[in-house]
């Protein structure tokens, strides 16, 4: 078999195995896989804006939270079914992205990062404040519903969709233009690329995924509160996953999400008093030792195509 065929066969087998998994896995196994899907979707989404354009979205969890709240409110107050609410969550996140992306994407470098960080805080404060709609600090408790397995499939589809989207973007002229912006925005502008519009499109695409999985996660956990859906640590985890796998690639975020989540569950969950330290050390190691990520290293060494 040619490698390409082998890869495709492997991919099909993997998808089949994942689809069959809920039939054999334990409750925890299913939930852990569901979480992996969630992280894949989050990391791949972050990669779309930050990996490609170089604009560091340091508040990306805002879209996750926006989606979680949109979904939870529609389910509890409007009686929507959760799949519809999840799509609405994606839409809600896109609306937020439009409102803040339009002005903020003009900011450069660290200023954009800090503005995004701030917007996440603003969103959290607003969600706490408008308690008529959001329950404020009480959070929202969703009606009890045993839906872990359907949510598992929905989350899997979301992860696959975002990865596919990343593949389509990265292999397209649109993706090339985004990377041109990353390398030199002034030059990109001079080449006639409408940078503002391109950045905004990428930003919107990167917000949809977190919005959808946010709503799905809300459904799955059954309870959300402002502090638990807007944490900075979630943004950082997405970023570390992308960086570990290789930013700007299709499979890097997937690889990073799987490896980091699995090692977190298997290894450092066993050290309750040390796991933050371990996670911190891993971040430091990734930044210092492999800033281009696993796939970046492989690309460099084996001259792999840019579009893996």
């Amino acid at each position: 078999m040619r490698p390409r065929t082998a890869f495709r066969v492997g991919l099909v087998l993997l998808v089949a195995a994942l689809a069959a998994y809920p039939a054999v896995g334990t409750g925890y196994g299913v939930r852990a896989m569901l979480q992996i899907f969630m992280w894949v979707a989050l990391a791949a989404s972050w990669n779309l804006i930050s990996g490609l354009t170089g604009y560091v979205s340091f508040g990306h969890v805002a879209f996750f939270g926006a989606g979680a709240y949109t979904g939870a409110i529609l389910i509890t107050s409007a009686g929507w079914s959760w799949p519809a609410a999840a799509l609405a969550g994606g839409l809600g996140a896109c609306v937020v992205a439009l409102v803040i992306g339009y002005p903020c994407l003009r900011l450069k470098g660290p200023y954009f990062a800090i503005a995004m960080l701030g917007l996440n805080e603003v969103l959290r404060a607003l969600v706490s404040y408008f308690e008529g709609l959001t329950g404020g600090g009480n959070g929202i408790s969703l009606p009890t519903l045993e839906a872990t397995v359907p949510v598992y499939y929905a989350m899997g589809v979301a992860a696959a969709a975002v990865t596919l989207l990343a593949y389509l973007v990265i292999t397209s002229r649109f993706g090339l233009r985004l990377m041109t912006i990353r390398e030199d925005e002034v030059a990109a502008e001079a080449m006639g690329i409408d940078t503002a519009r391109h950045k905004l499109y990428a930003f919107l695409l990167s917000a949809a995924g977190p919005g959808i999985v946010g709503a799905l996660a809300a459904r799955d956990q059954g309870y959300i509160e402002p502090i638990s859906v807007f944490p900075l640590a979630t943004t950082i985890t997405m970023i570390v996953m992308v960086l570990f796998g290789g930013k700007g690639t299709v499979w890097g975020p997937v690889l990073g999400a799987v490896v980091l989540f699995v090692s977190q569950e298997l290894v450092w969950a066993r050290f309750p008093y040390l796991h933050q330290l371990l996670f911190g050390s891993i971040i430091v190691a990734v930044v210092l030792l492999m800033p281009r990520g696993v796939l970046g290293l492989l690309q460099q060494k084996y001259h792999l195509p840019r579009t893996i």
């Binding site: 930050s50 170089g54 560091v56 340091f58 002005p103 903020c104 003009r106 900011l107 450069k108 470098g109 660290p110 200023y111 990062a113 800090i114 503005a115 960080l117 701030g118 917007l119 805080e121 603003v122 404060a125 607003l126 706490s128 404040y129 640590a233 950082i236 970023i239 570390v240 960086l243 008093y273 040390l274 796991h275 933050q276 330290l277 996670f279 911190g280 050390s281 891993i282 971040i283 430091v284 990734v286 930044v287 210092l288 800033p291």
Partner: protein, 292 residues
């Protein structure tokens, strides 16, 4: 609810805001220094403040040292720690894209918090010192905050003198303006970086010493200060040192006044919205002149 806001109340929160502002300015000046000289956004700044608070606490507990007398000692300890961090880790991300420095310092930050939890446990601690306030007419000046204001203002002033007048300070400013030119002029840039990070950590440490008598001391107390410092330096203009002073006082006032007219809940949001608006109007902050 129906609170009638009188001028005296407004005066009181303006006092509180300005008192808080000087402390913000001092802590944020450290962050501004690191950013200005090395283009590194130091998320571990708050945790360094936390370590400063613990240092002061243990000096107080073990030796009975007055928390204000231990400010210099705390600053020395934190200077050493900051220089060590720079020497071992941070120097590798100087000039790297902001993503590397954000992540590296975040990693350091959670590691420090975890280490603090291990070493000091999550026991709640605080120093009971200088409670109460001085009153002037209808206005109350919290003793601990007034002293913090004075010490912070003095230290910030000293830091400016150091930057303006001393050879070393000039070298630091030169490095932040143009590293290449500084190097050509014979400035040992690595040493400057080491000292910058040390001074910044010392300022955070001083902040920790001063807040140790204001709030409870626990391993997670620092994070909020990282956020506040961000706000301050961006409001004032990152890399612009006097801007930190303006940003600090501005943040203190905005927080207090928003809390008074709206609610405490919204004051943080108001501060961030102000930040974004200022950034949009002046993309490098109020006093920021240079484009990065």
């Amino acid at each position: 609810m129906n609170v009638v806001i009188t001028p005296a109340m407004l005066g009181q929160v303006v006092v509180s805001g300005i008192l808080a502002g000087a402390l913000y300015a001092m802590v944020a000046l450290g962050l501004a220094l690191i950013f200005g000289v090395m283009r590194v956004i130091n998320i571990a700044h708050g945790p360094l403040l936390m370590l400063g608070a613990y240092t002061t606490f243990f000096l107080y507990q073990a030796l009975g040292l007055n928390p204000y007398h231990s400010v210099p000692i705390t600053m020395l300890v934190l200077f050493a720690l900051g220089a060590l961090l720079q020497r071992t880790l941070v120097f590798r991300v100087v000039d790297a894209p902001e993503l590397s420095s954000l992540l590296l310092t975040f990693g350091i930050s959670i590691a420090l918090v975890n280490l603090a939890q291990l070493a000091f446990t999550s026991n709640l601690r605080a120093i009971e010192y200088a409670t109460g306030s001085y009153t002037l007419g209808p206005l109350a000046f919290s003793k601990s905050r007034l002293i913090a204001f004075a010490v912070a203002a003095a230290l910030t002033g000293l830091a400016f003198l150091f930057l303006q007048r001393t050879r070393l300070g000039k070298a630091i400013r030169a490095t932040s303006q143009s590293r290449e030119v500084a190097m050509v002029c014979g400035v040992d840039v690595r040493r400057i970086h080491l000292i910058t990070f040390g001074v910044a950590a010392a300022l955070a440490g001083a902040g920790g010493a001063l807040v140790s008598v204001i709030v409870a001391i626990q391993p997670e107390m620092g994070q909020i200060w990282t956020f506040k410092s961000f706000l301050v330096i961006v409001l004032g203009g990152a890399g612009n040192y006097p801007g930190a002073l303006l940003g600090g006082v501005l943040l203190g006032l905005v927080e207090q006044i928003a809390s008074l007219f709206l609610t405490t809940q919204l004051s943080e949001a108001v501060a961030y919205i102000l930040l974004v608006v200022i950034l949009l109007v002046r993309p490098t902050g109020l006093l920021g002149g240079r484009q990065t």
